[in-house]
C-alpha cells in the first residue's frame, strides 16, 4: 500500500463537475475536452461508488479550468515547462477544482510519437485523484505518481490507486449475489453449443450457514440442510427422501456410513463393530436426517454382527439430483430490469435493443419468445455484434443502425450495397466515437443525432449534418448529457431514455414534461 489518502473526502458520492465558463482551453476543442474529462472521471467512477454528472455551472463540486502563469491562486504555472496542472483536495469553494496550464501543448488523442505534447486524459485522471482526496504515490506506474508517465490506450486503474479510492469511498456496488458471503453459484464449465452462444448451467450449492445466529461455534457447517424438504415423494419413506444424493463416494448411498469413507466422521452413534453385542441394537440415528444409506422402516433393527455386511439392496428411491434449468447467457438482459441501448419504431412496431438482443412490441404487446439476437432479424450485421448504439427508421423507410463509427443501412432485412459506411460521411466529426441516439423529431420532421454533450441536425436530402452544428444538449432542457437512446413514438412525441427511466419531451416548451423520469419497464415492456 503506497497510495496516500489525504484525509479530506467528499461527504456525498454523486459529484458534479463542469468546464469553467470563463477559463476554457485556448488551443483545443472544448467539446473534445469535455469528452476527455468525462472519460478521466469515469476511470474513478468505475472503481468506486462515486458518480460524476456534468452540469453547466461554476457551482459544480469540481470545476475544471485552463489558465496561464498566475491565476488567482498561490501556485502560478510556469509556461510550457515542467508543471502541467494542479488540483485541490475536496472541500468547499475551490475544493476539488482542477487547474490546467493553458501554455502546455494538450493532446486529446495522443499518439505514441507525440513527444512534445501531453495527454490531457492522463493528466486529468491524475488531477481528479487529488480532487477526490488522494495525494501522490511513490509507486512507479501508479496514476498518482507525481511525474507524467503518459498513458496506455486501454488504460486500467492500477491497484495502488484503486485501493486508495476504495478505502475512501468504498468499492463499486456489487451485484446482489456477490454480497452474500455464503452463497455463490457454482459455474460449471460453460458448455459451448454449436452456435456461438454459450449456456452456463449453475448447480445451486446448498448454502451452509457460516455463522448461524444460534450456533455456539461459528464457522462450523450446519448439520441441517439449507433448503426445506419438498413434499414427501413416497408415502412410506421419510419426507426427506427427495434430498439430493450428497455422498459422492458411493453415489447409490445417501450419507457416509463408516469412518473410512468419511475420515472426519466419527461413527460414535453407530454400534461399534468390534463389540459383539448379543442383542440387536435398535438403530437410533443421532440426527433426524442422518438415516442409514438404505431406507428402512424406523423400527427395523440392523444386525450388528461385524462379519455380516449390511444387506446389499438397491435403494428404493430414485436418486434425485437437482439440476437447475440452464441460466440464460450472462449478457441476455432481464426484460423488466435493464437499460436500453437503442429504441425505435420500425413499420409501426416498437423495437428495443440491448446488448446482442432486441424486443419487438406490436399492437398486442410484447411478442413471445423475445428478446432474440438482433442478427436473427438483420443477419448482415457483424457476427460478433455486442451491441448497437443507435437505430432509427428514416423517412424513406430505410433502417439505419449505428454501431461505433459505422453506419449500416438496411432496406427491411437487406443491407444496402456500399454499407457499412463511416459516420464521417454524414458530416460527423472524425473523433466522434459513437452516437447515443438518432431520431426524426416529430416537431419539424428533421433528423437529429445525439452524442455525449452534443447534438446535430441532419439533412436527409443532402445526406449531411447542417453546418452550424453541433450544439449543446442543454437545448433539450431537462434531458442532460450522455443519453442512452431517443425515439419518436406514434403520438409524434419524442422520448429520451437514460438509465432505467425515460422522459417525454414537450416540443412547444422545449423541455421535458416531467423532471422526474418514468420507469421504462412498466411503461414500454408492460412489466
Amino acid at each position: 500500500k503506497r497510495f496516500a489518502v489525504q484525509g479530506e473526502k467528499w461527504k456525498h458520492t454523486n459529484l458534479t463537475w463542469s468546464l469553467s465558463q470563463s477559463r476554457r482551453p485556448s488551443q483545443i476543442d472544448p467539446h473534445g475536452t469535455r469528452a476527455v474529462l468525462a472519460r478521466a472521471l469515469d476511470v474513478w467512477q468505475q472503481a468506486s461508488r462515486l458518480t460524476f454528472t456534468e452540469i453547466n455551472s461554476d457551482d459544480a463540486d469540481i470545476v475544471v479550468s485552463f489558465s496561464k502563469r498566475y491565476h488567482d491562486d498561490p501556485y502560478p504555472f510556469d509556461g510550457r515547462g515542467s508543471i502541467l496542472a494542479h488540483a485541490f483536495f475536496p472541500g468547499s469553494g475551490r475544493g476539488g477544482d482542477a487547474h490546467f496550464d493553458d501554455d502546455e501543448l494538450w493532446l486529446l488523442h495522443p499518439n505514441d510519437d507525440d513527444e512534445e505534447g501531453t495527454s490531457l486524459f492522463a493528466v486529468a485522471a491524475h488531477e481528479f485523484g487529488h480532487s477526490l482526496g488522494l495525494s501522490h504515490s511513490s509507486v512507479k506506474g501508479a496514476l498518482m505518481y507525481p511525474w507524467y508517465q503518459g498513458i496506455q490506450p486501454n488504460f486500467v486503474l492500477p491497484d495502488d490507486d484503486r485501493n486508495g479510492i476504495q478505502q475512501m469511498y468504498g468499492p463499486k456496488y456489487k451485484r446482489t449475489w456477490e454480497k452474500i458471503p455464503y452463497y455463490r453459484p457454482v459455474q460449471t464449465q460453460p458448455t459451448t453449443t454449436t452456435t456461438t452462444t454459450t449456456t452456463t448451467t449453475t448447480t445451486r450449492q446448498p448454502y451452509i450457514h457460516q455463522h448461524h445466529p444460534g450456533r455456539h461455534r461459528p464457522n462450523t457447517p450446519s448439520r441441517y440442510p439449507a433448503y426445506y424438504p419438498e413434499k414427501p415423494s413416497h408415502p412410506d419413506w421419510p419426507h426427506y427422501s427427495n434430498y439430493p444424493n450428497r455422498n459422492p463416494t458411493y453415489p447409490d448411498r445417501r450419507y457416509y456410513t463408516t469412518t473410512e469413507e468419511h475420515p472426519r466422521r466419527t461413527n460414535h452413534h453407530y454400534p461399534r463393530r468390534t463389540e459383539t453385542t448379543t442383542h440387536a441394537t435398535t438403530y437410533r440415528p443421532r440426527f433426524p436426517h442422518a438415516q442409514p444409506e438404505y431406507p428402512t422402516h424406523p423400527r427395523q433393527n440392523y444386525p450388528t454382527d461385524p462379519g455380516q455386511d449390511y444387506p446389499k439392496r438397491k435403494p428404493y428411491y430414485p436418486v434425485k439430483t437437482t439440476t437447475m434449468k440452464p441460466t440464460p447467457p450472462p449478457d441476455k438482459p432481464d426484460t423488466c430490469d435493464t437499460t436500453y441501448d437503442a429504441v425505435t419504431l420500425i413499420r409501426g412496431e416498437l423495437y428495443i435493443f440491448k446488448n446482442r438482443y432486441h424486443w419487438r412490441i406490436g399492437a398486442n404487446g410484447r411478442y413471445p419468445g423475445y428478446p432474440i439476437e438482433i442478427t436473427r432479424m438483420w443477419a448482415e450485421l457483424p457476427k460478433n455484434l455486442t451491441h448497437v448504439d443507435a437505430v432509427y427508421e428514416r423517412p424513406d423507410r430505410k433502417i439505419a443502425f449505428f454501431i461505433g463509427k459505422q453506419l449500416y443501412l438496411f432496406d427491411s432485412q437487406y443491407l444496402l450495397p456500399g454499407y457499412p459506411k463511416n459516420i464521417v460521411h454524414l458530416g460527423l466529426p472524425a473523433n466522434l466515437e459513437k452516437l447515443d441516439g438518432a431520431t426524426v423529431w416529430g416537431h419539424n420532421g428533421k433528423t437529429y443525432f445525439y452524442s455525449g454533450t452534443m447534438y446535430w441536425k441532419f439533412d436527409e436530402e443532402v445526406g449531411h449534418v447542417e453546418l452550424d452544428y453541433p450544439r449543446d444538449m442543454s437545448t433539450w432542457r431537462g434531458v442532460g448529457y450522455n443519453i442512452d437512446s431517443v425515439f419518436q413514438w406514434k403520438d409524434g412525441k419524442t422520448y429520451f431514455f437514460k438509465g432505467k427511466g425515460f422522459w417525454k419531451f414537450d416540443d412547444l416548451n422545449m423541455r421535458v414534461q416531467h423532471d422526474r423520469q418514468l420507469p421504462s419497464a412498466q411503461f414500454w415492456m408492460s412489466c
Binding site: L84, H86, H126, H136, S138, W147
Partner: protein
C-alpha cells in the same frame, strides 16, 4: 569580528532548493538564529538539504545518493503535477473567487 561570509550556493543548488521547497521536501521556514551559532545554522541547512534530496530521490524511484547527480537533475526537469509531494497545508487557500 565580521561574521564568516556564508558560502555562496551554486545556481543549481539554488534551483534545486526552490524545487524542493515547491514540492514540499524543504520547508521555507528560516531557522531561528537566536542562540545558534552560524556554523550550527549552516550545518542544519546542509543536513536538511541532503535529507530533502534523499527523500526526493526515493519518492522518484531513482538511486538515493543525497547529492544532486544527473538522475536527480533529469527528474527535476520532467513534466509533473504541480501539487507538492508533501502536503504542508497546501489547501489553506481554498477560497474560490
Amino acid at each position: 569580528a565580521p561574521a564568516p561570509s556564508r558560502p555562496t550556493r551554486s545556481t543549481s543548488e539554488k534551483s534545486a532548493r526552490s524545487y524542493l521547497e515547491m514540492f514540499g521536501y524543504l520547508t521555507k521556514e528560516k531557522p531561528e538564529v537566536g542562540n545558534l551559532l552560524m556554523e550550527d545554522v549552516e550545518q542544519s541547512y546542509e543536513d536538511d538539504f541532503r535529507i530533502a534530496i534523499k527523500t526526493l530521490q526515493e519518492f522518484g524511484g531513482i538511486p538515493v545518493t543525497g547529492v544532486i547527480d544527473h538522475a536527480t537533475k533529469e527528474l527535476m526537469k520532467k513534466k509533473r503535477c504541480g501539487r507538492p509531494d508533501r502536503e504542508p497545508g497546501y489547501d489553506k487557500n481554498n477560497r474560490r473567487r
